[in-house]
Amino acid sequence: MKAPAIARNRGGAGRGAWGRRVVLALPFAWLLAFFLVPFLIVATISLATPRVGIPPYVPVFDWSGGHLWPSIHADLSTFSLLFQDELYVGAYLESLKIAGISTLLCLLIGYPMALGIARAAPNRRGPLLMLVILPFWTSFLIRVYAWMGILKDEGLLNSLLQWLGVIHHPLVILNTDIAIYIGIVYSYLPFMILPLYATLERQDPALLEAAADLGARPWRAFLSVTLPLSLPGIVAGTLVVFIPAVGEYVIPDLLGGGETNMLGKALWDVFAMSRDWPTASALAVAMLAALVLPLALLSRFQSRMEPAEDGK
């Protein structure tokens, strides 16, 4: 009788192998079909030769020969062209630079905010956190668009500054990198604050008291107690902002104008304007290559931070 009792306790939704298999099968199959396999397809098509037609590439695996094995038309020329093209190399480096600086700015603005919320009275933390998350629920596109009206030459910011007499000629902000930084920091700030808050809120206040008792000034206590203990939150927040920011498309398109060239925009242009699917795929593979390390790091951190589960 002992064994079934244990099985029951762990069963939950599906006692026995069958129930479990059914529960697991649907999400697993879905994610394999529409998340993992698509990446393999992208990787394959990045090796295909472009052509004019439908689809606009020569299939890499060709079964038309009637053999058991397909004939393979793999072609590395797309990648070699990519590496030789200054436009794409520039876009690659520019994307990493813009994402990196934006992430740093997010951290610098988000950290004091997360700390402020974590140090607020307990009954205020919930509402304060809610205020951080709330903008996320309203349209991202429309919030980015709102910045266009604020930042453009005859926009609100310039009118205000001119009215105050701070400047006499409008500052050109829209369609520059500065506007992209503002847009990314603005859009991704909540994703930085949430993991930071999660680690800061868990810290034992007694640690700071102990530091103070030992004569540490507030800044010193912050640097040697609070900051190091919040490192997991810093790493998680940094990755969660950096990874999607590298491929950002809407923000550089709306706020950066035609001049700036980020990878996400280059990818869309190649895909939609030139209809060159192999090059678009190669760009996606190149972007993923830069993100593999951050992604692996993030998944390690997430598995360490996740609540106690049976799998542990």
Binding site: R10, A13, R15, G19, P27, F35, V240
Partner: protein, 266 residues
């Protein structure tokens, strides 16, 4: 901390100003009679009237609503099953892969997801003849994939924190696992399910990048319509639309908070 009690609150206030300033500006200027951003032409609701007569946005909005409801519901089912598997099934073969697959869409750049899904749909159509062309169905599949990860995160943390004793009692009394899940577990995680569904709905109705890749001719979702109109410049009609979205979100959040507060009291 006692020596600089004002530093953190000040920074916090500045941060909130940064987060809310664009929204406030948007709402105010949606009532501006003048078409120009800088010129205040008096209070007017004419942009709302224009919006209500703009068939392009009405059609796109109705389509987006249908896509969002369908994909959020599908994502709720798939995401909840994934969360149950991760929290309750212990170690199983493929857990590491499964766990990575569940989490990766959360941060994956949208251009990559969009391109990958489109190429998959094209390959599927060539091989199996399904899905025929791109449109409603492909957008729904793409949004479901995107949103499943978010549903899983929300439901998973609720499941992990949940008190298991009620479930165990029911099982010990001989109830079948499926019945226990339906009668005890589901009601207990209901707030997380509602939150997850809403999150998935929001993601879908807001998505522009993935939709642009996987949509076909004639299937213009609201964000795609807004995006193509916004690229041409600032337009007061979009201000009105944005204000309506903000208002709808505010009403839903307020209602949800009220509901939760009342639940806590009882």
């Amino acid at each position: 901390m006692t020596r600089r009690p004002l530093l953190l609150p000040t920074l916090l206030a500045l941060g909130y100003t940064f987060l809310y300033l664009p929204i406030v500006v948007l709402v105010i200027y949606s009532f501006n009679a003048s078409r120009l951003v800088t010129v205040w032409g008096g209070i007017s609701t004419k942009w709302y009237v224009e919006l209500a007569h703009d068939q392009r946005f009405l059609d796109a909005g109705w389509l987006s609503l249908r896509v969002a409801v369908t994909s959020a519901s599908a994502a709720l089912v798939i995401g909840t099953l994934a969360a149950v598997a991760l929290v309750r099934f212990g170690r199983f073969r493929g857990r590491a892969l499964f766990s990575a697959l569940v989490a990766a869409p959360l941060v994956m750049p949208e251009v990559i997801m969009g391109l990958a899904l489109l190429l998959t749909f094209v390959a599927l159509e060539q091989t199996f003849g399904w899905p025929a062309g791109r449109g409603f169905l492909t957008v729904v599949i793409a949004h479901t994939t995107l949103a499943t990860a978010y549903v899983t995160v929300v439901v998973r943390s609720r499941l992990a924190q949940m008190d298991r004793s009620l479930e165990e009692a029911a099982l010990d009394l001989g109830a079948r696992p499926l019945k226990v899940f339906a009668v005890i577990t589901l009601p207990l995680i209901a707030p997380a399910l509602a939150g997850g569904w809403l999150l998935a709905f929001t993601l879908s109705i807001d998505d522009v990048v993935v939709s642009q890749f996987v949509t076909g001719p004639g299937t213009t979702t609201l964000p795609i319509a807004v995006f193509s109109s916004v690229r041409l410049g600032v337009s007061p009609e979009i201000n009105a639309l944005g204000t309506l979205i903000v208002a709808a979100v505010a009403v839903i959040i307020l209602a949800a908070t009220r509901l939760l507060a009342r639940k806590k009291e009882s």
